[in-house]
Structure formats: structure tokens, C-alpha cells
Amino acid sequence: MGGVLALAWLLLSGHYTPLILSFGLISVIAVVAIALRMDVLDHEGLPIHLTWYFPGYWVWLAVEIVKANIDVARRVWSPSLPISPTLFLLKTSQPGELGQVIYANSITLTPGTVSVSLADGHVLVHAIAREVGESLAEGEMDRRVARLEASGVNARSPVPPEA
């Protein structure tokens, strides 16, 4: 954690004098201390274990986002407003909560679908059109996120994250 924060500091700072660097060190230590006190430094809060597979997922998601954007833009501009709002109830196949959150946020991040409720291994999705929801229901994103999480779990520890 400290490493990530230190990296962030260095990226932000742009001043590499001893004084500022020592301030940076103090800051990182202070933040870690407070974060420990807040109890936010667990797997959920610090998804380092997703590192290796993460960029790949991002790239895939970015493409999805672009596609979804174009789709929604088309719907917005077409005079007939071709939308058919529909709710979908989907199962989440990720074992951990972190995975479920990534899944839910990914759904929201792609325009055309918004996750409305995430609970009990199910996510309720509002789709701008029925076919958009159906394509989400095919489960590609679900599987990719599940794989992402699983890779992280395997990489770090055999113990499954809290259920």
C-alpha cells in the first residue's frame, strides 16, 4: 500500500527536493497509519492482487465502453428515439464481493446499462433497450470479471475472500 501511495506522490509532486520528498514520506506514513485505523486496508480496499490481469480487463472494457457509447449516441440522436427500457435480473458468478462490485460498476460504466441493485449474488440492471440487456445477459462481462478476481485470489492466497 505504502508503495502505491508513494508512487502516487511522486507522480503528483513534480518537485524532487529533499524537503518535499521528506514531506512525501511523512505523508505516506501518515496516510497508511490513518488508513489502518480506519480499517480500510484489506483486499477490498487494496486490490493489488488484481494487478496482472487488470490491464487486459481494462482494455476489453474500454472497447465495450466505446461501442456502448456509440450505440447510445445513435439512439439519442435518432428522431424516433428507439429505446425500450427493460429491467434484467442477472446472477453474479464472482465469488467475492470485490468482484461483484467491479462487475456492477462495469455495467454502469458502459452506457446503456445501469446496475440498480446488487445483493445476494444478483444484480438488477436497467437497460436502455431490450437487446442491450440481452447482450449483457449473455454473460461475457460476468465471466471476465470472475476470471479477473479468481486470478487475483490464486496469485495471492489460497484462502477465498470473505463471502
Partner: protein, 138 residues
């Protein structure tokens, strides 16, 4: 039933970085605009987010009232006390050029220190206000 999952996870992710960002602004204050005041606001907003997501009672355990109060006072003391130090070093009140042998370095040092005072006070005052309002009901 789980707690508000999405918020909790994202908050855990964001909070340390917000705090770090606050400290970054704090110590880079005399290079850009802002300084202590903004830094205080940012730092406090991390706590406010924490309190919003995890509840004020939990946040109060992390930052107890006495600590917040002490920080308010300490920040103000740092701010005003620096001025007093300049009096004892032969300058006028708030005249930081006497804080160091080199007047410019003295000015820098003075501003840096009082910005810390401002930041600490602003952050803790904001937290105190939020804790004070939250949980009182509409």
C-alpha cells in the same frame, strides 16, 4: 443482506488517495494557489466520505471528538504562535523574514508552517462541523 457494497468498496479504495492528495496540496501550497485551506478541505472530505459510508459513529472512533478539538486548537496555535516567534526573534508580529538567517528562506519557512496550521485547523473544523450535523436528524 450486505452493507452497501459498491459504495463501501469504492470508498475504501478512494479514501487513502484522497488523504494523500490533501497532504500533497498542503505541502505544495506555496508553489500553486491554495495551500492549507484547500488541503484541509480535501483531507476532511476523506473523513466525511468515510463517515458517510461507514457511519458517523465509526468515523468518530477513528477521529474521536477530543482529537478533533485538539487539532483545531493546535492548528490555530501553530498559526498564531509562529507570529509570536517572530516577535521574539526581533521582527514584528507575522514578520516571517526573521525566522531564518536568510529572509527569503524565513518567509518560506513561515508560510509553510502557518499553512500547516491552517490546514490542520480547517480539516478538523470541517470534521467537527460534519460530525456535529450528521446524526442530528432533520
Amino acid at each position: 443482506m450486505t452493507h452497501h457494497l459498491v459504495l463501501r468498496v469504492i470508498a475504501k479504495l478512494l479514501i487513502p488517495f484522497i488523504m494523500l492528495f490533501g497532504l500533497y496540496v498542503q505541502f505544495h501550497g506555496d508553489f500553486g494557489p491554495g495551500g492549507g485551506f484547500q488541503a484541509g478541505v480535501i483531507f476532511a472530505s476523506a473523513f466525511i466520505l468515510y463517515a458517510l459510508v461507514f457511519g458517523v459513529d465509526v468515523a468518530r472512533k477513528v477521529a474521536p471528538d477530543w482529537a478533533v478539538r485538539t487539532c483545531i486548537a493546535l492548528g490555530a496555535l501553530i498559526y498564531g504562535g509562529t507570529g509570536l516567534v517572530s516577535i521574539f526573534r526581533g521582527g514584528n508580529y507575522l514578520d516571517y523574514s526573521v525566522l531564518s538567517a536568510d529572509p527569503v528562506a524565513g518567509q518560506h519557512l513561515g508560510i509553510l508552517v502557518i499553512e500547516v496550521g491552517v490546514g490542520v485547523t480547517v480539516a478538523s473544523v470541517m470534521m467537527a462541523i460534519f460530525f456535529g450535523f450528521a446524526g442530528r436528524g432533520r
